[in-house]
Amino acid sequence: MTVKRPPDPSAPLLLDQLSAPKLARDECPRRAKTQIDLILLAIEALDLSGSEAMLAAARELELQSVIGGRVGLWRLRGSNPLRRFNQRRPLSLDQAKALVLIASYLSRRLTVIIRQLLLGYQQLSDQQLSVEHHLRLADYLSRFRAHFRARMNAKRASVMAYSSDEKLNQLALNLLMQLLFCTGTSGAQRLWSSLFDGEVA
């Protein structure tokens, strides 16, 4: 039998490992969109070539059909409502799944540095020292603050809540801890399912 048409482009099989939550609508809730983008922002603050690494990860995981190229990735991340250039577009569940898989894939590569930073922070807080005493931690925090301030819309109330350095540092440390949990065996599943806490019926 001759095949006259190429097979229908279907969603990559990898996405099936994340189960669809029982949502009222078939798109990501607001908190999920924000959270995914912030996790990726933390990865960028850890890894200087983070945005390139995301595109490379999309290629390696064969998620390009969902993510698209550089512009596609930028538009997906722009669905975060806190962004300065918010796209005001819905983020489909498949797109969100792809971003979650990329985040977990990249965080696994950064396991060593994530653990070092968290251990360092714990030691600093045991001795009641400020974060400036740990060079790499201070570096990560300042990069995160710079990224956050450059890309988020400062006029939004939920961004104004992070106006001070201390609050942004706390957010960055929380994200670091969440990244650590993404590195695990079922990291992607855990991150995915946590995005819909309080959203399912």
Partner: protein, 468 residues
């Protein structure tokens, strides 16, 4: 034959000992019965150990808590409070693992919780290693396959506010109570007299045609037919109640309107609208709240921004948040949360604002009945006004030149003033002018003067039409 499985992580190792009920002997036998579980945590002298119940509880608690860390939502309402193993957030970067020894019955534990249960402080990295050990165990299909906690999102019903009902209904009770009190007080007041139409026409600006000015009092009750469903959308759908979402949407709406609002728009009263916004920021409906708002609606960006659904039949009511949007003649946009109690007071407030502005503007738009013509008197009045302003003014005004037209009676009384330009209008309250205004009969001789507060803080006064 005893089967031993080990899951080793830097800070934590999990050792499971159990039996297989399968008949066949294989190289990797399936463990189906757990005899003993040990959990070694670095820094802890004795390992945590227990049987099936302890281990099941450990797996569930750790799995749930890991999700709590990721989402920030407490799962405490979804979990069993009497479970032998529990996890809670600790101080700073720490987490608390509470373990109750096996054998003690649940009632005894409840009575003396603090004495019996063991509290272990875990750092984030230690906690993660514990989570990872459990995840590796769950991933291993050859060990206790029946014990596999599903990773599922927390249901909405568990994230409801935990405040008691009395506390949640308090604001509503207070609101209804104060409304009742206000209603009782207003019932005692006499009915206000309606202003005569002739007077209203005189005060109104000349841009409004006469016929419209006469029809004005009846304009408000019947809004155009197209807004009928807008109002339905304003009243029917459920409200968005999450305060962070509401304030977010408020800021977004303000930014959206400010971006497109044409500052050159011509109207002289604030335009007040009640606007409904859905959770994704779309404006789905608006309603006029005063007459000016109805008349000048085309000069606001609202008609263009309103989201019009294509198929009327498929519209499902979305939750909305309502805001009170005010476009001021100065070109600013003011967005505030809509409060139903404002609806009644809205109209009087705007008309009050107009009437306070009227004595300065409306009086000066009238030509002077008899002008002062004696040049000597003009000079005296000029000097008198300058002295008056200089003496009253405490500090120099900053910024650009502010110009006012000031009308004086023959005895030097300030009858009225009118700011020239926006800067002067906004700064008017800081000048001594509002305090100086006094009533004077209009049939007496009067004259207009130009009063300038220069940028450098100098007061300049001259007759409006120049020296005679």
């Amino acid at each position: 034959m005893t089967i031993r499985r080990q899951y080793q992580l830097p800070n934590c190792s999990l050792i499971l000992e159990g039996l297989s009920t399968e008949a066949t002997e294989t190289a990797q036998p399936l463990m189906t019965v757990l005899v003993n579980a040990e959990c070694h945590i670095v820094g802890l002298e004795k390992p945590l150990s227990g049987g099936q119940q302890f281990f099941e509880s450990l797996v569930r608690a750790v799995s749930q808590y890991a999700q709590e860390v990721l989402s920030g939502y407490s799962h405490s309402q979804a979990r069993d409070q009497n479970a032998p193993v529990r996890l809670q957030p600790g101080e700073g970067p720490y987490h608390r693992l509470l373990v109750q020894p096996e054998g003690a019955d649940a009632n005894a534990l409840q009575r003396a919780d603090a004495h019996h249960s063991m509290v272990i402080q875990l750092s984030t990295v230690q906690l993660f290693d514990l989570v990872e050990a459990i995840d590796q165990f769950c991933d291993d299909r050859q060990t206790l396959p029946q014990l596999n906690p599903e990773i599922v999102p927390l249901a909405r019903r568990y994230t409801k506010p935990t405040e008691p009902l009395a506390q949640r209904t308090l604001p509503a009770t207070l609101g209804i109570g104060s409304l009742a009190v206000a209603a009782a007080v207003f019932a005692l007041l006499p009915l206000p007299e309606a202003p005569r139409p002739a007077e209203e026409r005189r005060l109104d600006s000349t841009t409004v045609p006469e016929t419209e000015a006469e029809a004005e009092p009846e304009l408000e009750p019947p809004p155009p037919a197209t807004t009928a469903e807008d109002i339905a959308r304003l009243t029917e759908p459920p409200e968005i109640t999450d305060p962070t979402v509401v304030s977010d949407l408020q800021a977004e709406l303000a930014a959206q309107l400010e971006a497109v609002f044409d500052v050159e728009a011509e109207f002289d009263q604030p335009l007040v609208y009640r606007v409904a916004v859905t959770a994704n920021g779309d404006i789905v409906g608006y309603r006029y709240d005063n007459n000016a708002a109805l008349r000048h609606v085309d000069q606001t960006p609202l008609p263009q921004l309103t989201y019009v659904p294509l198929g009327e039949a498929e519209v499902e009511p979305e939750p909305v948040a309502q805001y009170r949007v005010t476009f001021t003649p100065e070109g600013t946009v003011d967005v505030a949360a809509w409060d139903d109690s404002q609806a009644e007071s809205a109209a009087p407030v705007t008309s009050a604002a107009v009437s306070t502005a009227a004595p300065t503007n409306a009086d000066l738009s009238q030509p002077i009945a008899s002008e002062i013509e004696d040049s000597g008197q003009i000079m005296t009045l000029n000097e008198q006004l300058r002295q008056q302003i200089v003496e009253q003014r405490s500090q120099p005004l900053p910024g650009e030149d502010l110009t006012y037209r000031v009308r004086l009676a023959a005895d030097g009384t300030v009858v009225g003033y009118e700011p020239e330009g926006n800067a002067a209008r906004t700064a008017a309250a800081k000048t001594p002018l509002p305090d100086l205004v006094a009533a004077a009969p209009t049939d007496q001789p009067q004259l207009d003067f130009r009063l300038v507060f220069t940028e450098r803080g100098v007061v300049e006064v001259s007759p409006w039409r120049g020296w005679p």
